[in-house]
Symmetry: C2
Subunit: 345 residues, 2 copies
Amino acid sequence: MNKKKVSLKDIAEKAQVSTALVSYVLNGKEKESRVGHEIAVKIKQIAKELNYQPNYLAKSLRSGKTQTIGLIIADISNPFFANIARIVEDEAKKNGYTVIIGSSDEKAEKSWDLITVFLNRQVDGFIIVSSENSEEQIEYLIEKNVAFVLLDRHFPDIPTHFVSLNSYKAAFDAGVHLIQSGYKNIGLIAYKSQLFHMQERIRGYRESLVENGISFHPAWLKEVGFDTIDEEIKVGIDEMLASAFPVDALIFATYRLAITGLKYINALGLKVPDDLAIVSFGQAEVFDLYYCPITYVLQPMEELGKTAVEILIHQLKEPHAEKRQILMEAQLMARDSSRPKAVIS
Amino acid sequence: MNKKKVSLKDIAEKAQVSTALVSYVLNGKEKESRVGHEIAVKIKQIAKELNYQPNYLAKSLRSGKTQTIGLIIADISNPFFANIARIVEDEAKKNGYTVIIGSSDEKAEKSWDLITVFLNRQVDGFIIVSSENSEEQIEYLIEKNVAFVLLDRHFPDIPTHFVSLNSYKAAFDAGVHLIQSGYKNIGLIAYKSQLFHMQERIRGYRESLVENGISFHPAWLKEVGFDTIDEEIKVGIDEMLASAFPVDALIFATYRLAITGLKYINALGLKVPDDLAIVSFGQAEVFDLYYCPITYVLQPMEELGKTAVEILIHQLKEPHAEKRQILMEAQLMARDSSRPKAVIS
DNA sequence: AATGTATGTTTAATCGATTAAACAAAAAAC
DNA sequence: GTTTTTTGTTTAATCGATTAAACATACATT
């Protein structure tokens, strides 16, 4: 990046005027600042000639605004978050913002790190997919008066803006759907996490059983650690199948759990849905291409992402507006993996 | 972001010294600048007390370095690029760089846009997955002396740093593999693009036929437009199957083509590999989970991404070092979708 | 005592833009 | 023909950090 960049000063010199005039003209303030018409034309022309591009660092330093949003997600290589990221990117761009993305790997520590780095880079605000135990980070942002919106997950005890899914309802619907399709022993594989959305998925699942007169068996619920899902899912599925009440249907609480679980189910040679029906959260091409298309919980990704950006940008304009807390509804997309159970006659 | 941020000046005032001293101390230059030991300790302590965080805008404006890399890819929601992005993000972070990602959707125009925006934001350099007809952008960057590396694709006629795949070899291997597995009528679905890597894939495919004494039939090669792949792939596959020499195996030149193609193949009720064998570029969980695991061309993603970052950072230190041009080899992962053809006896 | 050398610290310019305020000249008002 | 107003332009401070150069002292040397 050698060739001397063109600055306001260069234009000013060439036009024989002060930088102030150039700044006024190029910011469309000729009227308010009553710049002479001839000189304005001249300045514009020179700017074009030299292909002037303003230095946003300088602009930002002066204005205190960077027109940059920090997006913190769990992992950009996870299709769910990649999709969200794309939507956020596009929506932000439409509004003149640039997005910096960071992956936290569900680790509070990494997320802290990202917040610090992004703050040092003076992002105007954050869109955050929170990790477990990151409440203090949120409190910190609140205390420092930093604009942010929580996405996909939120902390019910902390008053913040957020956009997430009605996880309880979604899980409940998933359970009811399986029950109505004739499945009786329904398992759930979730993450071992105190995050609200995860707890809600578990609660929704259990409630769906209860409400339909099915008594829940502890062996049906497996909570696996983020970092050990490969092994734990195997053990979990083994135990579910070998339990006193072997499961005939399985709900996966996230995309990654589903992928990992399905691989193992394939390896076991189990047939979906005859041996095991499946419903999963998340969505991706895999679900379509699986030999038996997977029933999934359709999340309104586009709306989630767009709304998050919208709320954040609105917040940047009106810092003290009331907190917007949005729970969106998911839609169950019934496919072959949960088709009505074949009854043995 | 209200609460007044702590600046060097605040520390200076509290410590009753000039900002210069503070700057020296906090940058570990106490020795060179012979700052008094006591005062240094005091400054450090106050900085910690106030939780001082330097303003990178100011730093960058002064130094001309932002420690930021612009990453331009086709689409972050495509798993291939999302994976690359993650690797780049991690590697950059290790080196103290932050990454700004932009999706070009394979459009030269959008890519121009991103380059301009990122340059205005003073990124130190770029990692670019080029779109078709974006040569002038590359020339522009060269002319302006901007540091950059091309990733995954390159222009053979323009001398630049690049890291990409030996596409010719990979496609050739794919073809040979199918032939050796007993398939005779092998089709290729590629993008309609003059991009070198795509042309090389086509060339490699054709060469594999020629070298094995199979004469190529035009109906076997379908080049579909980026924006019309859904329809064109359907037509393409239909035509290949209905041609005078119906294909019994198909190579997909990218991940997205494969996904789209497989959906249609499923819809047609074709059995892989008995009705149609498959080999695909790209990689993703889908390939594992498909009822018949898909043979694919394994690209050394990790190395691609890391090397790109490494070359860029090295270039930032030594702008005039020789151009590094790296072609990495892919590895064919043979799976069931291309298992030896069952011979009709 | 006069001079030289360390040792500590401050001053002020700089990066590239923005913008309130000061200034100058021309036009309008009385 | 002054005074006032309008119009057009420049000056200079500012954002927050960095750093060469200037400036003070203290200490050492002869």
